[in-house]
Assembly symmetry: C2
Homo-oligomer: 201 residues x 2
DNA sequence: GCTAGCCCATGACATTTGTCATCGAAAGAC
DNA sequence: GTCTTTCGATGACAAATGTCATGGGCTAGC
């Protein structure tokens, strides 16, 4: 019997996925978490065999949870499911020790199969996502550029970004200009869109 | 027995919800659709009692499907489930004849209960969403302002927006300025964010 | 020890954006 | 028939943004 921890902030989806996994004879959902923090404390207490984690959750996101889990509970294999599969997310997830990565567009038996695969030590990444990730290449942005671009994502003026990043306005504009150049965008807002699409921020 | 049509582009979610609804004795999922078009043709062929439709789908979106359904099949009650419950979406959905509106954060038995409620002629809107929708008020944007703001959402410069909207650049800037004022934003990009958050665009 | 790359900053410049006043045409409300 | 609103446009001005050159401090690689 494979013991599973399920983490997803959407109650309906979580419950539904649990119902679905429960249909399999060899799978058992032993815990359901609605946030990253909950997932971690439940995992520590119950030590599941496999953790199925949603990528986007309020608070601690899926990749961070996966990283902590790989560190603290090496016996617990982690996999990510997500609605928005960006190349960058996949890379970060793999770097965090995630063994499986699936978009939510896959069918139910793929999910069950992948749970079994990674439980027995294998890995599985959605083929289409894998192809995109390979062709996409790494992020050209330096850490600081990514930071600043992220702050710019909300549409804040340079002044505010500068305050929030504790930088001078001129420096912010330099970073943004550089990010715009690297993404091939016409302005910072298009740069944000492109970086988002690639999962760079 | 209540016969249900399920439409959601995410295979896993759709299958999981179907598994969950199948656990109820009086509910039966008779069709599953991955797109709006599919949902419509399946509904015409099978005439379900209740259609449970995801708001965001590729191609025809949930509200449009609901509108067509209410026109063509008055016997079929429709309800919307969604990950992103914006006040504006709720209003558009109700205007389209939708009887139930739920975020995906609700629990499974709420879903089943609401299916039964709307099947017996009732209505159900998530209380929190309802409160937001009421306090939010209607969109203050004129149709044209909303158009232009939508084009601006991709981060394109005024020149391009003007070309795509067949307007003069000056006019575009006037509309944007007006939209910025109405949303209380500091610039057009924040205006886009706000309007998105309210479901105005 | 040199070099390269990232980090942070300043100053100068051209371009883009945001704002405002003003105008005319068309449509709907009263 | 007049009033109001929306749509569309122009011109002008101030403010924000994008770009570039330049410089110094720091770290890592060779």
């Amino acid at each position: 019997m494979i013991r599973i921890l399920l983490a997803d902030d959407e109650h309906l989806i979580r419950g539904a996925m649990a119902a679905l996994l429960a249909l399999e004879d060899d799978l058992e959902v032993v815990a359901q978490a609605a946030t990253g923090e909950q997932a971690l404390s439940m995992a520590r207490a119950l030590r599941p065999d496999v953790a199925v984690i949603d990528l986007q959750m309020p608070g601690v996101d899926g990749v961070s949870v996966a990283r902590t889990l790989t560190d603290e509970l090496p016996g617990c294999r982690t996999m990510i499911v997500t609605s928005h599969g960006r190349p960058g997310h996949l890379k970060r997830a793999l770097a965090a020790g995630v063994r499986g990565f699936l978009p939510k567009t896959v069918s139910a038996d793929v999910l069950a199969t992948v749970v079994r695969t990674i439980h027995s030590g294998g890995r599985y990444v959605d083929p289409q996502l894998a192809a995109e990730a390979i062709s996409a290449g790494d992020s050209p942005l330096t850490p600081r550029e990514a930071d600043v671009l992220e702050l710019a994502a909300e549409g804040a003026p340079v002044e505010e970004i500068a305050r929030r990043a504790a930088l001078s306005p001129g420096t912010v504009r330099n970073y943004l200009s550089s990010a715009v150049g690297k993404t091939g965008a016409a302005n910072r807002h298009e740069a944000v869109r492109i970086a988002r699409g690639q999962g760079w921020i």
